[in-house]
Each structure stands twice: as structure tokens, then as C-alpha cells.
């Protein structure tokens, strides 16, 4: 059974024709192109940062200069001219707005087009707080009042650096050290903004925290830095979604996300990534090099990563968990969909250090067009990780015969009581499955939709409701599906 036109159309609908391709005309305040100590001083000054932050940035820059870009991923990355990028771009809105009224209406319109009803959020009675990042500056933060009542800090990281220097100093770079990799070093030198979340002991964050990243200015590198700290027995669910306007020049995105969970704390981090993937011929699109890592420092702590990756020309992303605490839990649920000339090399790392630590990895890759989709993961069981348990399942679905699906898992076990299981399959929709459904009176069309929905379901059900709808739309192979 070949992939039918409908399937392909559905995929194109989801990824090919990028409906968020528009540019907002807001005068922006940019740093000149290029990367040097002066650029970093400029960013730091713009952010009104204390001296220690500037020093840390300059140190990171020195580290980065000594490093080489990694080439181990199954990605064909055109050379990136780091001197041809703006490292800072902020919409000119004056000081930080106190309320939505102060936000530039152009921006609000942009978000409305993206389907983020920012000014409706309040009306929607505390479902989501959005710390919206427009290019590099946090434009609006809603519901902060409500959050602060229970002691939750949710603010732009630039603000946290000024307001909560002790927390930032203590945790920033403690999970992803500056020299961890090429892109983390770059980020540590030039990061412009991002979110800071602190959940105090015993607090269950009363709402899902959400932030929408958006790249707007052409040639602007987007370097977010996010830090989430969950103290003992706290809980937070954080949502991140991305869309970007259509541009021909390739744009660079190198974010770093750090999570820290203490005893009995739980962090759920969900992403829908839909950066501009480039056109059918692979022109343009975002280069997405992300370092995401969570440390389960406390006993019985839990970190769950859920991601739906449909965008970006190049994705290089491995959300990971360091399971230090006793009986700590790491989870990774991923749907990665590539079409046209997209390339994705994504997966996770689960490092089992604590006794009884458990991890689950469910990865679903769908390749279409001429795209390449690679799962790359590491499961490591350290000698002290008594009775550690890992289960990994990586499934790939190929749509069309010009694309590629790859699986590169690394498994290292140094403790006999640890149990590590890895399974991977690659297939098309099998005729057996279709036949089985047809036997039971289900039409081919319904059967295909059923199977494809089922293929991703394990991951989709992990998404918070707010995202599940958008994600299903993005995956695009929904009810109208395809006929075999």
C-alpha cells in the first residue's frame, strides 16, 4: 500500500504550507550583526544586568570560541556564519508593560493570528499564564499576581537575574554547564531572555504555565534560557509552543532549558515546536539546536518531557533526565514529524544514578517527502543504580519512498540488577492492520486514520489538553486521513 495523496496532502497541511508565515511590522531595537565581546556587553547592558552576569557571559564566550561545532548528528548543516546574525532584537515598547493595555496592539494582533488569545486568557479564568516572548524580550506576563499569592515565581529570566540573583546564581548552569556543548556555550554567552520558574516547597502550581516563543526579525538568533526549579513536594506543568514567520534566510535558534526537581517534586515540560521548516525545496527554515536537561536531584522526584516536533529545517534536540534521586522517574514522550527537506535528529538521554530510578522513552517518528528523521538516545545505568528500570520504544513510520527514518540508541549498563529494554520498529501502515480493520467493517479511510492516530496516541495522551488540540492539527493526519 503506497502512501496516498490524501496522506501526503494531510502532511503538507500540517507541515508543508506554513500558515503562520507573516511578519509583524514593529520597529525593533537591534544589536549590530556579529558576535564579539562588545555584542555581549551590549546585550548585558540592555538587560541592565549585574556585573557577575556579564562576567559569566564573557567567560562562556571564551569557552565557546575554543569549541567546535558538533558533527556527529545525522544532519547536513550548512556552515553557519555566526558573524552574520543579530544577537539582540527587542521590540521598541519602552519599559516593561504593567498590563496588556500597554502592549503594542501589533503584537497582540500577531498572537491572535497565531491563535494565542493572549487578552482572552484572563477571561478564560486562570487556565494558562503566558510569559510571551516576542523575539528576545518578554512582552507580557499574565497571572503573575495570582501565582505570587501561592509563592510561585514566574517571570522573564532577565528579571530574575535582577530580582532573585541568589536563586539564579545557584541554579543557572548547574544542570547544563557552560561547556556542555557548542550550542550551550553559545547560549550562555548571548542568551537574551526566557522564563524563570520557582515553585516553593509543597506548592502545586495552580495553573499550567505557558510561554510562546516567536522569532520575528529576520536574521535574529533566538537564544532563550529557561530555568525551572521545583522544591520538595511541588508540582508544575510548563508548556512551550513555537511558531515563526516565513523567511528565506536561515535562522538560528539555540535554547537551553534547565529543570531541577527536589524530593517528591514533579515537573512536566511539554513542547509543541512548529518553527518555520523552510519551503518544499529546503530554502529557509529555522535551525533549532536545543539543549534541554532536567536533574531529578531529590528522591522520588519526576521529570517528564513531552514534545511534538513538526517544524524547523534542522532539529538537534535531546531533552534529557539525570536521575540522581532514589526512585526518581524520567519520562520522554516524543512525536517528530518531518516533511519536504526537513532534518530532525532528536531523542533523549536517561542517566540512571539513583537506586530504583525508572525511565520510559516513547518516541514516534513520521517521515515524509525527502526528509530525514533520526532518533538518537542514550540510556546509561551507573553502578550505583540498583534495580534501575528503563523501557524504550522507538517507532518510525515512513510516508513515501524518498525519506529516511533512523534509530541510533546507545545502551550502557553497569549494574546487573538494572533492567534495560529497547525496542524499535520501522514500517509503513501494514496491510495486515488494514485488513484486520476491514474485516470488522471499518472503511479503509477510517482504518488508516485509526492506525495513524493510534501510532501517535501514546505520546499525544501525555500532552495537556491545551496542546493536544493544536498538536493533533499539526500532525495533520487526522480523521480525513488517507486511503490505502
Amino acid at each position: 500500500m503506497a502512501a496516498t495523496q490524501k496522506t501526503i496532502d494531510a502532511l503538507e497541511e500540517a507541515t508543508g504550507k506554513y500558515k503562520y508565515g507573516f511578519v509583524t511590522n514593529i520597529e525593533s531595537d537591534k544589536a549590530p550583526k556579529g558576535l564579539s565581546e562588545d555584542t555581549i556587553r551590549f546585550i548585558s547592558a540592555k538587560k541592565e544586568e549585574p556585573q557577575w552576569m556579564l562576567d559569566s557571559r564573557l567567560k562562556a564566550f571564551a569557552t565557546w570560541q575554543k569549541m567546535e561545532a558538533p558533527d556527529w548528528a545525522k544532519l547536513n548543516i550548512p556552515p553557519i556564519d555566526y558573524q552574520d546574525i543579530h544577537y539582540y532584537s527587542a521590540p521598541k515598547t519602552g519599559g516593561g508593560p504593567e498590563s496588556l493595555d500597554e502592549v503594542d496592539p501589533e503584537l497582540l494582533k500577531t498572537y491572535a493570528k497565531l491563535g494565542i488569545p493572549l487578552d482572552e486568557q484572563k477571561v478564560l479564568a486562570g487556565v494558562i499564564a503566558v510569559d510571551a516572548v516576542f523575539d528576545s524580550v518578554s512582552v507580557a506576563t499574565t497571572f503573575r499576581g495570582e501565582l505570587s499569592k501561592v509563592g510561585v515565581i514566574f517571570c522573564p529570566i532577565s528579571e530574575a537575574i535582577r530580582e532573585y540573583p541568589d536563586l539564579v546564581k545557584k541554579y543557572l548552569g548547574s544542570v547544563v554547564p557552560v561547556g556542555d556543548n557548542y550550542f550551550s556555550a553559545l547560549n550562555a554567552a548571548v542568551f537574551t531572555d526566557g522564563s524563570f520558574v520557582f515553585i516553593p516547597k509543597g506548592v502545586r502550581c495552580p495553573m499550567e504555565l505557558s510561554t510562546y516563543f516567536r522569532i520575528n526579525e529576520a536574521n535574529t538568533g533566538q537564544f532563550e534560557r529557561t530555568l525551572i526549579i521545583a522544591e520538595e513536594a511541588s508540582y508544575v506543568s510548563y508548556l512551550e509552543g513555537c511558531t515563526a514567520p516565513q523567511r528565506d534566510e536561515n535562522q538560528l535558534h539555540a535554547a537551553v532549558v534547565e529543570l531541577v526537581a527536589f524530593d517528591d517534586a514533579e515537573i512536566k515540560y511539554s513542547t509543541v515546536q512548529n518553527w518555520y521548516p523552510g519551503d518544499e525545496n529546503g530554502v529557509g527554515g529555522i535551525y533549532n539546536f536545543v539543549t534541554k536537561r532536567g536533574a531529578c536531584r531529590g528522591d522520588r522526584s519526576k521529570i517528564a518531557w513531552t514534545q511534538v516536533e513538526t517544524g524547523s529545517a534542522i532539529t538537534w534536540k535531546y531533552p534529557s533526565c539525570i536521575l540522581q534521586g532514589k526512585d526518581s522517574v524520567g519520562e520522554f514522550y516524543s512525536v517528530a514529524l518531518t516533511n519536504n527537506c526537513q532534518q530532525a535528529d532528536t531523542g533523549t538521554k536517561m542517566i540512571h544514578i539513583g537506586e530504583g530510578s525508572r525511565s520510559t522513552i516513547i518516541s514516534k517518528g513520521i517521515s515524509a517527502g525527502r526528509s530525514q528523521n533520526c532518533y538518537r538516545g542514550l540510556v546509561r545505568v551507573q553502578p550505583g543504580a540498583e534495580n534501575a528500570r528503563n523501557f524504550t520504544q522507538c517507532d518510525s513510520l515512513l510516508v513515501g519512498d524518498k525519506c529516511g527514518a533512523h534509530t541510533v540508541p546507545y545502551i550502557v549498563s553497569r549494574n546487573p540488577s538494572g533492567k534495560v529494554e529497547h525496542e524499535a520498529t520501522t514500517s509503513r501502515i501494514s496491510e495486515d492492520q488494514l485488513f484486520y480493520c476491514q474485516q470488522r467493517g471499518i472503511s479503509t479511510e477510517d482504518a488508516v486514520s485509526l492506525i495513524v492516530n493510534g501510532f501517535c496516541k501514546e505520546v499525544m495522551k501525555e500532552l495537556p489538553m491545551e496542546f493536544a488540540v493544536e498538536a493533533q492539527k499539526l500532525i495533520g493526519i487526522s480523521l480525513e486521513g488517507s486511503v490505502g
Binding site: 534509530t407 546487573p416 525496542e423
Partner: protein, 417 residues
């Protein structure tokens, strides 16, 4: 002309021409893979650089083939290498349908061989350049008598680089066993096997080198239309052993099995690396890997299944399981799928764990003592792989090796492994 072969200059090998000169140049340029080489991330060869080894000049020992004969099907024909040097007397034993010739100076065959063996591989280049002896076998028709390539050696200061090229003509069939039981410093056999259309090869490789030896092998296979390759490898000996096999399914409808067992104890390091390259459609490949590790042994399995865009209807299966019997043992696995065709069924699985407590309890509750129970479970675990061998003679030959290994394991240890 003794010289340290670990030097990039390969001083001991002079005046090479043609294919071998090319291999020598490549070796001198790249040498042993360093810590950055992805393919060697679990098996480091840095220790080798410090070792000073010489090439053997002649077959200095009298090969003790009796041992082999005992374990072999009755009428096997032996082709013997001692310290990497071919014993020409063994050519007298050739069964009907087998033609043998020496590789030295046979530029055409060497060229074909160099294209079959794993590319950009240190052993491919080193052993071709430093070839201690090379033979070429051509198989026609159905060869009834099994052929045993027997590798022995008694000099730990030597490095052995035997090269064997085997061409199985269209429609031919043969049973070949490659048996290593040598005590040389480095045993680096290079094999190139071409299986023709509708031909069949039943193959077993046994690595039982001495505890002080390093065994690094590179084997390249090419399968033609409708051919059958039923291969098996067992790695038991050596201090450090890597058995690397690259298979190209170059014809349609080929059926390929490459299973393996490694058994490690003390501080042994076993590495099974396979590369299954599906170039044409309707081919089947199946790999069942089993590893058992005791003491401080380390086991590595790297298996890549590559499916080219034209290889539609490929069925590629791979399953690797490892049992850790000791707290200090380590297992690493890197199963890899690289797929460019859509109408395929490919799957791999990998597990690492210890003996199942509930299974042990089940057996204990039926009055079976701990030692017997452990033996039964390990034996059943290994049988999964041995059962994939279709040739009865070969499986009968391999079973005693696993049994012998197990009797030496301390299966008494209760619970606290």
C-alpha cells in the same frame, strides 16, 4: 625483518605494490582509531599502540589439529594457518569442488577482496598491507565435506594477519567453519566472501584465542540473488576481541542470518559489530545476539541495519540480549537502524539484565537447586541464538563450547551476584 607493526610506518612491510600498497598508505595515514572514532567508542585500542609485535615469517609450529578434529564433523577438510602463515601442506586435503590459490601477487583477486571487506576499517587496511598469508578459495557445485579454516599460533610476540577470500559460485553450496585457537599477540584475520546467485553458505566462526591475545577481525560478505547465508559467531577467548562483519545484500531475495554469542569472564572485552547493508529488495536479514558476562567482563554489541532506497520489501530483524552475572560486568549496546525505503519491516530490540528472580523461584519451588536452575536458565538463554543455526553439524559443534564455558562459571553464588 622484525619491526613494530604498531608504528604507522609499517617498517616491516616494504616494497608493496598495487592494492596492498594502497592499503598500506591508508593505514599509515589513519592508523588505529583514537578515542574520537564513533565506531570504536566502546572498544578502545589505545593499549595496542604501546605493544611491540612482529610479523611471523613462516609457519613455525606444527599445528595441533587433533583438537579441532575432535570437535568437527568427521570428514572435515582442514586448511591451517599457524601464526598467521598458511600451511601449504593442507592443500592436499581439498574436497571436490574447491579450488585454492595463493593471494600473494594475484592483483585481480586482491582488488575484488579489497572492495568486499569493511571499508575505512583499520583491520581491512592493516591486514591487507601486512598480510602474513593469503588464500583464495573458489567453490563450485554442492560441496559435501565441511571446510575448517583452522588458525593456531604459539608466539605471543607475533601479530598474525591471515587473509582469506572465498568465492562461492552461482548455485554452489558449502559449509565453512572459521576456528581461531591461537596464542599470538594480535590475531587480525581479514575475510572476504562472495556468495553467488542461488548459492548457500553455512558458516560458523569460533573465537577461542588464548587469554592474552587480542583478536580483531574484519569480515566482508556480499550476497547475490536468491542466495542464503546462515552465519554464526561465538566469541569466548582473547583478552580483547572484536568480531566485525559487514554484509551487503546485493541481490534480490537473499536470506541472511548472522547470529552471535559472546561469553565473557575475568576482565575480557568482547565486541560484536555488524553492519547489514540492504541494497536490493525482498531480502531478509535476521540477527539473534546473546551475551553472558561474569566478573569484570565487558560486552559490546553494535549492529547497524541500513536499508537503501531501492530495498523495498526488506525484512530486517535484530535482537540483542545480555545477561550480567556479576556486579562489575558492563554491557553496552548500540543497535542502529538507517532506513531509506518505505515498504519495509525493520525492528531491533536490546535488553540488558540479570537472571529473572521469578524464574529462579519457579524452579526452586519445584525442587531444583540454585546451581542447576541458573545453569538451566543461562543455557536456555543461549539456546535462543544457537537454535537459529540451520545446519545440524555446526550447532552440534558449537554447543559443547557454551557448555564448557558454563561449567567453569561459579553458578553457586546465591542471589548476591
Amino acid at each position: 625483518m622484525p619491526a613494530s607493526m604498531m608504528q604507522h610506518s609499517l617498517d616491516g612491510v616494504m616494497g608493496l605494490t598495487g592494492v596492498r600498497a594502497g592499503a598500506q598508505r591508508r593505514w599509515q595515514k589513519t592508523g588505529w582509531p583514537d578515542h574520537r572514532a564513533e565506531q570504536w567508542r566502546f572498544t578502545r585500542l589505545s593499549g595496542l599502540q604501546k605493544v611491540d609485535l612482529r610479523f611471523a615469517e613462516s609457519a613455525a609450529i606444527t599445528a595441533e589439529n587433533q583438537e579441532f578434529s575432535a570437535a568437527m564433523p568427521d570428514n572435515a577438510a582442514f586448511l591451517s594457518f599457524s601464526n598467521g602463515v598458511f600451511d601449504q601442506a593442507s592443500l592436499d586435503n581439498l574436497p571436490k569442488g574447491v579450488k585454492a590459490s595463493l593471494l600473494d601477487g594475484d592483483e585481480a583477486t586482491l582488488l575484488a577482496l579489497s572492495e568486499l571487506v569493511p571499508q575505512s576499517h583499520p583491520i581491512s587496511d592493516l591486514s591487507l598491507a601486512a598480510m602474513t598469508s593469503g588464500i583464495h578459495l573458489e567453490i563450485s557445485g554442492a560441496v559435501e565435506i565441511p571446510i575448517v579454516l583452522a588458525f593456531t599460533g604459539d608466539d605471543n610476540s607475533l601479530s598474525a594477519h591471515p587473509v582469506v577470500s572465498i568465492k562461492i559460485n552461482d548455485g554452489a553450496s558449502v559449509v565453512i567453519s572459521e576456528w581461531h585457537r591461537s596464542n599470538v599477540g594480535l590475531s587480525a584475520p581479514l575475510m572476504a566472501i562472495e556468495v553467488g546467485k542461488k548459492a548457500r553458505l553455512d558458516y560458523a566462526k569460533v573465537q577461542q584465542d588464548s587469554a592474552a591475545s587480542t583478536h580483531l577481525s574484519a569480515t566482508g560478505l556480499k550476497l547475490g540473488d536468491d542466495s542464503i547465508f546462515d552465519g554464526f559467531q561465538i566469541s569466548v577467548g582473547g583478552k580483547l576481541a572484536r568480531l566485525e562483519t559487514h554484509i551487503t545484500l546485493a541481490g534480490e531475495n537473499a536470506d541472511c542470518t548472522l547470529s552471535a554469542i559472546y561469553l565473557g569472564r575475568s576482565s575480557q572485552h568482547h565486541d560484536i559489530t555488524t553492519n547489514m547493508n540492504h541494497l536490493k529488495g525482498h531480502c531478509l536479514s535476521n540477527q539473534v545476539i546473546r551475551g553472558v558476562l561474569d566478573d569484570k567482563a565487558r560486552g559490546v554489541f553494535q549492529g547497524k541495519v541500513h536499508v537503501a532506497p531501492d530495498a523495498q520489501k526488506t525484512d530486517g530483524q535484530q535482537m540483542s540480549r545480555v545477561l550480567l552475572l556479576s556486579r562489575k560486568a558492563e554491557a553496552d549496546a548500540k543497535p542502529e537502524l538507517e532506513i531509506y525505503a518505505d515498504d519495509v519491516l525493520c525492528a531491533h530490540g536490546a535488553t540488558i539484565g540479570e537472571l529473572d528472580e521469578t524464574q529462579l523461584f519457579y524452579l526452586a519451588s519445584r525442587g531444583i537447586d540454585g546451581q542447576t536452575a541458573r545453569g538451566m536458565l543461562i543455557s536456555a538463554f543461549l539456546d535462543d541464538a544457537i537454535d537459529s543455526i540451520k545446519h545440524d553439524g555446526l550447532s552440534a559443534m558449537l554447543r559443547p563450547i557454551t557448555t564448557a564455558w558454563m561449567t567453569a562459571v561459579d553458578l553457586n553464588s546465591d542471589g548476591e551476584l
